[in-house]
């Protein structure tokens, strides 16, 4: 009996040790690539939370019944308010990671906000000469590291636990190209993928992959096709493009989907860049292992308006047996594609204020009756404005309600095209080919809205109006809630089914970043990045002079139930 007990004790001990070891192994893997494809509802492990870019949290502890009881759990100030707070935080196993202006990175206790570590990189002084700075929109995580692209053209991996540098790889000659990284990378298997800024510069923009373990370059994809039919004369040398925001991934097809930026110069006075200018203003599907192009769909052939495709989310969506990709172009039109081959399935407009085309054919994608600003020196009235029918902020798709919660801007502009010679020495200069000023639509005031729509057909279920067109991203949750912060600094929770406002809180500065939800020790939290500004904010005072004085800020507000 005694022996039996002893054996049982030994077996129990062995079992406990084995369990502990397995737990350790699981924990060690928890920040590995495999964790990113699992759907731990407590985490927000990547920029759009999941590879399908839904920005949807499966957490439901906070719901439409109790959301009125939300209160502040903690606030974290980044310390630098220049260009506000544009990022979407990550949360993995109870730790929040976020990046602020000047590439300041923080790891915080998700329950208390207490700092675990911070990392402030030393930036090259060239950063102060750049147009795209000092903001950053997010981090990526995997292999026990957090990754980010820097304002001076590097990619950095930090140990998630300590914040110590694991490796640093320089990918861009920022002193020469005036280009950099401002978007969040995407970790796919053993690679970190990220795209550069280039759309307003006389350079060739690329998308890169580096190995997650050591930072060595795995591949690069040039968004400027080497094809004289697509780029007449020398224009391709200065073609811009790039892919400055974060893509999506379909593990089943092993394809990464990335939106590319506009060609340079932004405006074409006629003959500036003959051809369709591939692969700018397009969605491209790449093999993440090799960087090989599998298919592309150019949303705006020969983009005449700076209507990027390099913004927001690419929804990976299955419906009626079809594998779809839903992607919004900056023009305000939403393109629905077969994500296996890029064949167009539908096109529909998020906005109703547009005149750059009469319409876009939903079957062929043809831009019907294009209306480009071409006459040098003569102002032309164009809708939507250069900030777009939507800016780079993302909507959110709820697989529960089957609705896409997405923002829109009903604003126009006056564009004056001007011939410009590209400047590449001593460094690349801005290459816009014109300038613009915001205008109200004919017969009405400019405004913005948040809609709940079917992402495939565009059918609208509800709309909330805003005086100032919103530029913050959206969060939806399994608690049937939609969170969104406005330009005046008020974050609201809406009923996902009706659009009824259920809760609000004034953070004191407008919203440009991405709200998220996560859970620590069984308690759900809502994190709201707050803080203006943003480059596009500079366009607002022409219509709303008071926006000039809207306060800057940079803080993460975290809420939970009382």
């Amino acid at each position: 009996m005694r022996t039996m007990t002893s054996r049982l004790t030994t077996l129990t001990a062995v079992f406990l040790i084995a369990s502990a070891l397995l737990t350790c192994v699981a924990h060690a893997q928890s920040t590995g690539a495999s964790r990113l494809t699992s759907d731990d509802p407590n985490n927000w492990p990547m920029y759009h939370r999941s590879y399908d870019s839904y920005r949807y949290s499966p957490l439901a502890q906070i719901n439409r019944t109790n959301v009125k009881d939300l209160q502040v759990a903690w606030v974290h100030q980044s310390g630098v308010v220049i260009q506000g707070l544009e990022a979407t935080p990550l949360v993995i196993d109870g730790v929040m990671y976020y990046i602020a202006s000047n590439n300041r990175v923080f790891a915080l206790d998700g329950a208390t906000g207490k700092e675990i570590w911070h990392y402030y990189t030393k930036l090259d002084p060239v950063v102060t000469t750049l147009f795209f700075q000092p903001y950053n929109r997010g981090l990526a995580a995997g292999q026990g590291n957090v990754y980010f692209g820097t304002l001076d053209g590097r990619v950095i991996a930090l140990d998630m636990k300590t914040g110590k540098e694991k490796w640093v790889t320089t990918l861009l000659d920022t002193k020469k190209c005036s280009c950099n990284f401002t978007g969040a990378p995407l970790v796919v298997k053993d690679k970190v993928i990220l795209g550069q800024t280039a759309g307003e510069l006389p350079i060739q923009g690329k998308i890169f992959a580096v190995k997650a373990t050591d930072g060595s370059k795995a591949w690069e994809f040039n968004t400027i096709k080497n094809d004289p039919k697509s780029w007449g004369g020398e224009s391709g040398k200065f073609g811009g493009g790039g892919g400055w925001m974060t893509g999506s991934y379909d593990p089943a097809l092993n394809l990464v989907y990335w939106g590319t930026a506009n060609p340079a110069p932004d405006y074409d006075w006629g003959g500036a860049r003959p051809g369709d200018n591939l692969y700018t203003s397009s969605v491209i599907a790449l093999d993440p292992d090799t960087g090989q192009l599998k298919w592309y769909y150019q949303e705006i052939p020969h983009d005449d308006w700076d209507y990027d495709s390099g913004l927001g989310e690419s929804l990976v969506l299955d419906r009626d047996g079809k594998k779809l990709l839903v992607h919004q172009n900056k023009s305000g039109f939403v393109f629905v594609m077969d994500r296996t081959n890029g064949k167009l399935q539908n096109v529909w407009p998020m906005t109703h204020t547009y005149n750059f085309v009469k319409t876009i054919d939903p079957k062929t994608g043809e831009l019907i009756e294009r209306n480009p600003p071409r006459e040098v020196g003569k102002p032309k009235f164009i809708c939507p404005w250069i900030a777009g029918g939507r800016s780079w902020n993302s909507g959110s798709y709820s697989p529960k309600s089957k609705l896409w919660y997405n923002t829109a801007m009903e604003v126009c502009e006056e564009v004056t095209v001007e011939k410009q010679t590209p400047v590449t020495e001593p460094a690349a200069g801005l290459f816009f080919g014109g300038d613009q000023v915001a205008k109200h639509p004919i017969g009405g005031e400019a405004y913005g809205h948040l809609d709940a729509r079917d992402p495939v057909t565009g059918e609208r279920k509800w709309t909330v109006h805003y005086k100032y067109p919103p530029i913050g991203s959206v969060l939806s949750t399994a608690g049937d809630l939609v969170f969104h912060g406005d330009l005046e600094g008020v974050v609201r929770a809406y009923d996902g089914d009706s659009g009824a406002e259920l809760w609000n809180f004034r953070t004191g500065s407008g919203h440009r970043g991405g709200p998220i939800s996560y859970s620590v020790n069984g308690k759900q939290y809502i994190a709201i990045p707050s803080g203006l500004g943003s480059l596009v904010l500079g366009l607002y005072p022409a219509l709303w002079p008071e926006v000039e004085h809207f306060p800057a800020g940079s803080a993460v507000f975290v809420f939970t139930l009382k």
Partner: protein
């Protein structure tokens, strides 16, 4: 001798007056001050120079930053701002800690002076 001293005194007073009102600072080619060492190689009131500066402004100070024609934006409004040329030249050269890029290493000194001439013309323009 006496009239000579008087002339020197009057000239010095006029010079100080010109400095005080900023007239000399704004108009005289070659007048050096602070970061504008060497001074402008041309008259900042020259309409051709201002026109070339306006073109540079449109190409580098887009509506994202300063408003069209120096109108309202998130960056300081330039129309009717009464900024002086030294401040303008220095700010374009060195940028600002609030996020304005520094153009010192990416733009020629001559072009920075052309931009200065244009912004100076905006500073003296009527608000609209």
């Amino acid at each position: 001798m006496r009239s000579s001293r008087l002339l020197v005194g009057v000239t010095a007073t006029a010079l100080l007056g010109a400095l005080a009102t900023g007239w000399l600072v704004d108009h005289a080619p070659g007048f050096a001050q602070g970061a504008s060492a060497g001074g402008p190689p041309f008259d900042l009131a020259d309409q051709q120079v201002i026109g070339e500066g306006a073109q540079l402004f449109r190409q580098t100070c887009t509506g994202y930053c300063h408003g069209k024609d120096g109108g309202p934006s998130r960056a300081p409004k330039l129309r009717a701002s009464k900024l002086d040329r030294t401040y303008i030249y220095t700010r374009i050269t060195k940028g600002s800690p609030n996020g304005m890029p520094a153009f010192e290493t990416v733009m020629s000194r001559e072009n920075i002076w052309k931009l200065t001439a244009y912004v100076l013309s905006l500073a003296k323009a009527e608000d609209k």
